[in-house]
């Protein structure tokens, strides 16, 4: 999957949870879920479940802890996809 396609799918996934529209509009690899998008930390697990559904992968607890930014999410998704 191409990088920009991956970012686009992530953007769709996080949309319901974001509380900062400007940061969302400018979403890029360096965007942080909590600090930039102001996603409620409790909702991070929902983001992860939605990622699992979208890519048909399973994200373990350790990977989950690291998934705090677009960049980290992309890396984890790519790894999981390559393991399939």
């Amino acid at each position: 999957m191409k990088k920009n396609e991956l970012i686009e799918s992530l953007k769709k996934i996080v949309k319901p949870y974001i509380q900062d529209e400007v940061a969302f509009e400018n979403l890029n690899e360096d965007t942080d879920f909590i600090n930039d998008l102001k996603i409620n930390s409790a909702n991070l697990v929902d983001v992860i479940l939605d990622v699992e559904d979208e890519f048909d992968i399973e994200i373990d607890n350790e990977a989950m802890e690291k998934m705090l930014s677009v960049k980290a999410a992309m890396a984890i998704i790519e790894t999981k996809l390559s393991e399939k």
């Binding site: 319901p16 949870y17 409790a42 909702n43 697990v45 929902d46 479940l49 699992e52």
Partner: protein
Amino acid sequence: MKKRVVITGLGVVAPNGVGLSDFTNAIKNGVSGIRFRQELSALNFSCCIGGIPTISEEKKSEYFSELQLRNFNSSGILYGCIAGIDAWKDAGLSMDDENVDFDSGTIFGTGTSGVEKFREAIYKLDDKQVRRLGSTVVAQTMASGVSAYLGGMLGLGNQVSTNSSACSTGTEAILMGFERIKNGKAKRMLVGSCSDHGPYLWGGFDAMRVMTYKHNDSPEQGSRPMSAAASGFVPGSGAGALMLESLESALERNAIIYGEVLGGAVNSGGQRNGGTMTAPNAEAVQRCIKDAIDDANIDANDIDLINGHLTATIKDPDEIENWVTALNRAGTNFPYIQSTKSMIGHCLAAAGAIESVASIIQLKEGFIVPTINCDDVHPEIVKIIDVDKIPKKCIQKELNLIAKASFGFGDVNACVIFKKFEI
């Protein structure tokens, strides 16, 4: 110095009307909100009728954000938040996203929260999918879910809690908020209660055979409080909410005042002397009513209207007898009495709050709404009170004092006295 406590806002989500004006119209015209429920029939319920408020998806999105509605499946919290926010706005209070209001709190009761959500979670969990439950199972299924949601929506900074005392929950919540304001611990308390709808909440009652199975073909005639043909209650659901406020605060804000909470009492029969988990100890019921009258510092003879618990089980005549004894009034000297449940069924934990909203509407507007389905008043009731004291049609009547009582499983009782407001 104890504070006087007044009612400055109302909100209601009932099977026969959502919102103050629809509900007022419905109760005034004796409109039943009871319908046949296919989902109950499909699950082999004996009683296949019930009362469920109609809430459109559009209405939901007026009160909840898109995010809050994601995986949301708790009807009680839905009803409670709509009624609560309506009462808040009705009181002329604004919704502020920034600030905390440390002078306002809530006591918003329920019996159980989010049973449908809990069922979803249990299925997932048993399928070894606990990690996929999502983030809102706790918030939707904790008993205090409704007060927690409301606290966040309104920015409440005073006490935010949920009480639970079975079918007396709503009336108890009013008294708990009342005490808090009276004692100067809060200026405003949003009080009320809500109840989920549906088979997973109502099933236990169906199993006890306390819901009527005789009106599956005539749902609107099913809820028959005080009737000779009463054969069990009809389950209902919804929420009622009252904005209670210190008189000082209400006057300062120039708020509309619906009425005053004069006082009340809660007690228990201890499941002794006739009282059990499910049946009331008559002595305790009478004592609760008398204590409420004493607390409100009124004369029992001045009560104009009783909004009873009156569920349409075989216990209704006993309740009337308890009122007769407690008030020492009978026959033509008995006050008017009504059962809102005749139109909305028994809304369980929400009953006391919805019925209190009905009471205050009547107090403010000066009429007594009908009790439907009791043209055949139970002979044991006819023996002790004049049947004309149970209006079957709406009558115009200036009301000064209303007594509202609710009784619940666990042998618990609550009675509150509402008064027309005068400076």
